[in-house]
Symmetry: D2
Subunit: 391 residues, 4 copies
């Protein structure tokens, strides 16, 4: 095609709010920081509201815009479809994109249901397109470094993982029923939004989960409806209150296939915790702690340190020797949330160039969905549930 660099991967992104901003920024910065084999181009952005999407395109540097995602998918000048819409649209768009032969990069949780995620996985596999799900926290340097330590045997057999994802943004009972609180749009509350991240980190770092016992809590049972009909903006209606159908908190205990014990807690009711995506892993030879709010630091403990010198060490994972070392700034000149996206995009581009779907793939999205599903089932059945049932 005239004017197209064969090394350009032309992205069409559906959606343009919070996640759209994060993805757009990553497309812009990944080529700046990395020597990418192929480079993303912000070709077209898509949203239902013409005015809104045009403004977003201008602000975030997209070359064109569409108001119908089906049109976007069928554009010949699009190589990769990036889905940053609310969860209830993921499956339809992703499947259509795969069938149109486009690579697909989708926000998490992959789907509303395990049935949907299974279909999505089947679609990308059948159509042989590259696929990735946006478990961006995997790409924090500290997480990659934790993975390395575990893979090299530095932690040994793992006994425990306790993972928390604590937020507090909806504690006000007058906070309205925005789309993330609408079951038909988001599928669940803290469960799919937050626990999904913890689950992916657990699978990435510890291994597959065998079974779970969980509970889900909705502390505020009724909330103001949102004033606009779409339910996507956040203004509360003064008069109408509606039932909250999603969880405020999702809590479960788990057994991993390798015998480790897991405790998981995701909540939007942990006052003072704005984005505390944290965990601790305890193994035979060492322990690891991390918290996204200070994401550049990894705390490690090694049992074979001199007995008088044992303790948790706080490592600023920004050295040349660390994952993504040298990509950004000198030691302890810290990076932030958005860099997890830059790193993920670099990985996605590498995968596209190599023709391989690198992790986290739609399989990872589907596997996480199976665990989410088993927990939901357990919360209803009030007993332990096997994850394999849903895979």
């Amino acid at each position: 095609m005239v004017g197209v660099n064969q090394k350009d991967i032309r992205v069409g992104m559906v959606g343009y709010k919070f996640m759209g901003k994060a993805h757009s920024n990553a497309y812009q910065n990944a080529p700046f920081f990395f020597d990418l084999p192929v480079k993303p181009v912000k070709q077209a952005i898509c949203g239902r509201n013409a005015e809104g999407v045009k403004e977003a395109a201008d602000k975030m540097g997209w070359k064109s815009y569409e108001t119908d995602w089906r049109t976007l998918i069928n554009r010949e000048d699009i190589d990769l479809i990036d889905i940053v819409t609310p969860n209830n649209n993921h499956a339809e768009i992703a499947i259509a994109a795969a069938e149109a032969g486009k690579h697909v990069y989708c926000e998490k949780p992959l789907a509303l249901t395990i049935e949907e995620s299974a279909q999505m996985l089947e679609a990308v596999q059948k159509n042989n397109v590259i696929h990735m799900v946006n478990f961006n926290y995997r790409f924090a340097p500290a997480i990659q470094f934790a993975k390395k330590l575990i893979s090299e045997g530095k932690i040994g057999r793992i006994y425990h993982m306790r993972a928390l994802y604590l937020q507090d943004w909806i504690m006000d009972p007058d906070f309205p029923l925005v789309w993330r609180l609408e079951k038909s749009i988001s599928g669940s509350g803290a469960h799919g939004d937050l626990a999904a991240h913890s689950i992916d980190l657990a699978r990435f770092l510890v291994g597959e989960i065998d079974e779970v016992s969980g509970m889900m809590k909705t502390f505020i049972k009724k909330r103001p409806a949102v004033a606009d009909s779409s339910g996507l903006s956040g203004k509360a209606s003064a008069t109408e209150f509606r039932d909250v159908e999603v969880d405020d908190a999702s809590i479960f205990i788990a057994s991993f296939q390798n015998g480790a014990a897991g405790t998981f807690e995701a909540t939007r009711f942990a006052g003072g915790n704005r984005n505390s995506n944290q965990f601790e892993i305890n193994g035979e030879k060492g322990s690891i702690k991390w918290n996204a709010e200070s994401m550049n630091e990894l705390e490690v403990y090694f049992a074979d340190d001199d007995p008088s010198l044992q303790g948790f060490k706080k490592i600023n994972v920004t050295e040349e020797v660390h994952p993504y070392g040298g990509v950004y700034w000198p030691s302890a000149h810290i990076i932030g949330y958005e860099h997890t996206f830059h790193n993920l995009i670099a990985e996605l581009m590498k995968g596209i160039e190599q023709g391989v779907s690198l992790s986290p793939t739609f399989y990872d999205g589907h596997a996480a969905q199976a665990i989410l599903t088993a927990v939901e089932k357990s919360a209803r059945s009030r007993r332990w549930e096997k994850v394999d049932t849903y895979l």
Copy 2:
């Protein structure tokens, strides 16, 4: 009685190891720091090994010693029996002491089984003696202050408690089967030893637990037997390995009667955590964090702080205005583990003087036992269990 100050409470203590040392030190220091209405006197200490108990008596300032606890209980110059033996002796001694009309102060967990704790509670109530169980962490100033904040409504409706008690002292597979790992002596592993403390703090600060779903893990299945026949000392046998019958870790999720969600984890396999008895409570109006390893500090968050000034505040709970303020040292001249015992003894003495069993009583010990029992049941039944069943 000649030579006895009516204000002296003459203590007879059964056992003299780690807890015996802590209790002995508290008897010595409580009168130094507090203006006690009645004062404990280290009258007699009791242990089966004559040489050992004599040495302990000398070292720790006890006036006399016995080698048979029944003799001790029947001595007329004893007012209070303090039980610091392994768990399997608690019930028999406590019941006999109560029947002999002695006040009883007993280590936790109160008993091996819920049946035992019920009998113990009945005995002290029927015989109308003062009773207390040694949930010493309640008496950390930070915990008393947390209680005050909660009682005053500063935290509001509680949504979450997550409590961890993490240790790592038996992670070496060659660590032997000492009495704390012997089911017949200790009843359980981390469960009764550590989770019991978390459970008491949960009941004290949040309220009664309605139901639980738990799991118990034994990571190391066989360990060296101890070389000596009593099983109380710690030398490993080179040749004999025996099955570990107690849990290395006890993990459960819970619903409180007030609707709060609880997650509990007690383990001896969390490398790098030596005595990390910690929790976080999230309420409608604020949050609280605490860790026994830095027990003088309480972290608090208040939702009604100015929006730009919200965050966790670290309070060094050593001011005159704090619980036990003025008893010890000036601000931020910190106190330690042993002071929780001093404070508890002061409370026990106050109760004896007033003729009232102040908390934590044997009822508190029994109620904790009911939760421990429900968790054990749940770990076997693999479903949620009601706590009330056992009360």
Copy 3:
């Protein structure tokens, strides 16, 4: 001019190493995150090595390149000269740029000597161009928020500032004499590189310094010369050792004009501290602590909190209500080092559009130079020195 958006500010940058990367990234991201009144355009980059500068231009998205800064300055399509060269070139380039009528944005420390900085200030003022010096840490949201608290009187009369800038990258005696260790190129060691930042924060937050008493230490007296003749790359020569003429550490005490006491320490020999640019300010009504390594957090203490609830509070300065709130990501989705540059560029663009040199101007650079000079003088005279002497 054809094809030029009047709202474009066409930048010509001299130098392209570490700081060149940071500046380039900021030109790219400031318009993405901010609604800028005028936008920077990466027009031309300049360096002596044609191959190197061409590669840098491609990688970092500059439209053209030059190998002679005089040519760059005289290009009509350049509005702003950005100086990221070693310190010994700042004065000559800045003065020439100002005389050519270009706005000037210069790295810190502004100059090698107080004479140079005075000339630079005179040049930008006489030629009426916009000028800014790159004290980027001012633009960390936490620093802006600290400034706001102080300005609003929340801290009250300030008694103390203690500021440390601790690094450790040259502790190895075999680390070579790179340009930052060459007196003729950098002017000083830790003094101009690190103390300059602390000094600017002190002036910004506390006020003008009246007098100083300082010492400068060079712990490693000889180091390997660098292998290449330019002295700009970092390979050590195996054979030649040369005297180190700059300080490894710069330490001074200070009196502010408002009566506050200051202690300052900048060093490259504080093992384990990679980029610990930190300070604590104590005032009549409150205290503030900050460390660049966890730059999203500001710790604050207020003396008028309830006596039982006093302590340092850790605020994650990423809320909508905070400086730069809403520009980046949701609460506690942290930002990093590079964002201080984005924020500064937004300020610079605002100044250019308004025709005003916003702080930190060349005056701020010169005032910092006066303090640096007084400290150097004091280290030689071995007595207190007045800062005003040099202004």
Copy 4:
């Protein structure tokens, strides 16, 4: 003497307020925790106010009391004089005690002036009595462990010590002129009270100080006089304001004889810091951080750790392998402020039994006084001053 165990060291203590309480508690607990070769006996306590001293004797377990320290010193049943009076009485009592052949244990700072401390040192040496000055922080296990690490060469050549002792108890301008603010009684303000501790830790851990440049600040120039004539109690007079003659803050920079650079800051005006006696030491091979407010923890960094695993490690210095390990409680069952006194008393008793004055001796007290004196001189002369001048 009848009824006296030759292993008893009969203590006569002059003074009975804050420090009297700490010392009394240590006499009681040192024999409980340690196997002491000789044991302290609380023989007699002395104070001018008969009622007050009698009450103190009862409360703190002293066998008898005196109202005239000269009588106390001459009692045959006293072996050791412990001086916990305000500073202006130290010299007279200590010299008289030494001349009476009693061992002497004295609070810090040793004296009001360098002349006094020289005379005190001469007196104890001439009369050949055991002497110790109460630099109790040396006896925090973490400090002993830091000393061990340094002595073993684990930190290597030391480049930096920065020591802060931050308090905030007199920040209220209405806080009255208690004895600690009276120059005639206390000699100085934060300087002798707080900086003295930092100086002793510096000498203990880093070595002798060669020269200093300092400043002293008095932020609040006038304060209410105290209502009672003695000036020892704390009630403010409503009407009379008097000049504050002591420093609120003492700040100095220093060169150690071994070439290390020191920064020292002691203040009572650092809001939010209640008892923050802290320091960081940076050496060739590692770094050490400590803060008395979390005195059980020592942070260490080692430059020879694996490059990817470098960082500060937080060690809970409560293991069997640590100094005083096994004396108190199991790992991470923390100890507090008072235990530094227990440990010091154990050392003092060991010295008495061996007939040797163990550190910190009166020489250490005198050497600290020389540094205090040099700093005061420097604050007046406004130039660097040599410490040796005063030794």
